[in-house]
């Protein structure tokens, strides 16, 4: 499959990864080669095959809705690059 520069830029935008021009071209070439290889899956007829997303015979796993101990706010925030006493700090999202 042909991958254009615009497609790489669009994927990078969806993935929230800023790319330099050089990165964009390298990834374009590499993604094209990898996707070409992956196209071999189309040799297989999978009509009617139930997709398998998970290997265990487990369905919904529920637990009782009870309050249990959890991480205190201080421990949850300890690794945050910027935070206040009880919240994460981010640039303004809404003007």
């Amino acid at each position: 499959m042909k991958i254009s520069t615009e497609m790489v830029e669009y994927i990078a935008h969806l993935a929230r990864i800023e790319l330099s021009e050089d990165d964009t071209e390298t990834f374009r070439i590499q993604l094209e080669a990898i996707l070409d290889y992956i196209d071999k899956l189309n040799q297989l007829d999978t009509t009617g095959v139930e997709p398998m997303v998970h290997t265990l015979d487990l369905r919904n796993v529920f637990r009782a809705d009870e309050v249990r101990p959890s991480l205190p706010p201080g421990a949850s925030l300890a690794n945050a690059p910027e935070h206040t006493e009880d919240s994460y700090k981010v640039p303004a999202v809404i003007d």
Partner: protein, 497 residues
Amino acid sequence: MSELYELSGHEVRSRILRREVSAEEVTRSLLERISKLNPIIHAYVTVDAEGAVARAKEIDSRIADGEKMGELCGIPIAVKDNICTLGMPTTCSSRILENFSPPYEATVVEAILEADAVILGKTNLDEFAMGSSTENSAFGTTRNPWDTSRIPGGSSGGSAAAIAADLASMALGSDTGGSIRQPAALCGVVGLKPTYGRVSRYGLVAFGSSLDQIGPITKDVFDAGLLLNVIARHDPKDSTSAPEPTPNYVAGLKTDMTGVKIGLPSEYFGEGLSEDVESAVRAAAAKYEELGAEIVDISLPHTEYAVATYYIIATAEACSNLSRYDGVHYGHRTERKSDIIELYSRSRAEGFGPEVKRRIMLGTHALSAGYYDAYYLKAAQVRALFRRDFDEAFEEVDVMLCPTSPTPAFKIGEKASDPLAMYLSDIYTISANLAGIPGISMPCGISPDGLPIGMQLMAGTFDDEKLLRVAYAYEQATDHHLKRPAPDALQDRKDAG
């Protein structure tokens, strides 16, 4: 008498319990060897010498008090650095988590500490476990102890190199597409990927959640069973943890192979397999016949589609899992931000290495509008065909025997610029992850270049016990697992890339 650092985990435990040696002496012996060799091998990214000695002393005093000790009493263990350790850095060998210190303990870490193990430190990996050589680590490549100009395999290359160079008595790794078994093969040690769901993933930094599984990397098969005994348990904190009861994995180990049927999948002995690896694995099959097993040829017809299927499913899951690295909750945050989108995309651009970016991009594409059916859905369908292949094969045979890796350890830099060539080095290990079945790699020979060769055994879902039994029988009948790198191999090679 052998040095304390050379002992297997079970030997360490019995010597300590017989009071022939203290836990502190064993731990100090390993720490001394680590301080001498880690600068060359670079197996560890974090060594907790102080914590390990304090822990060993505490174990010694509890032994002196006559306490009943756990199954891993005094055994010094290395933990792959994508498994959370409370208060000890857990970096995933990524810049984005360089300063991350987990606020909780992974379930497996809780389990080994309850069993009275000593944690020596955290081992190097390909960033976020994405790779087959540790060359993708942000903190430098681990060297293969058999030849320091070569890679140790990956992604659990640090753990495998630590066992091969006697820098730990046991180790934990994780395996998404071969990341325990391939480095175990390339470093000449034992590596077990248990059945998916057998070991809790709580506290394992997620890569491909339907594929990831934690497992032991050890000096022999008995140790792999011993460590699995401790870490295999149902965990309510992991909703994909299996409720099936866990047997005692070392109780049933025996050497008689009468009545055991071993299949050789013909697709695993084709193009791309090195002659040295093939002849070593075929010799292992002959050894099993001598031991009373029946060897039959079988077919896993979809094998050639494994790598393509895997690189859709694993990257799709990865791009979703890695969206949590946003420069807000934890991890690296860019200095150059004017709005929230820039905060995300620049923090991630600065924090992730090229292979992680490549896989996030591939997964994002595979899941994006207009491509989902062609890629992700198609791969999930092919995955069902893999499972069917294995289910049918295991109706005929007890286990399968095949190579772990097509070649012995390759040179540093050899495949670094060609992602697809690197992906294809996982061709024999990926299928077990797609099907969720257990697999073990163990040493079965040495190449003419003096490099270890590994063979792989695979069994059906939750047949981990049978898998260990068949592996143990071979190990007891051979001495490949006792071979170690020559001491003069353990030095820095100037020709290393």
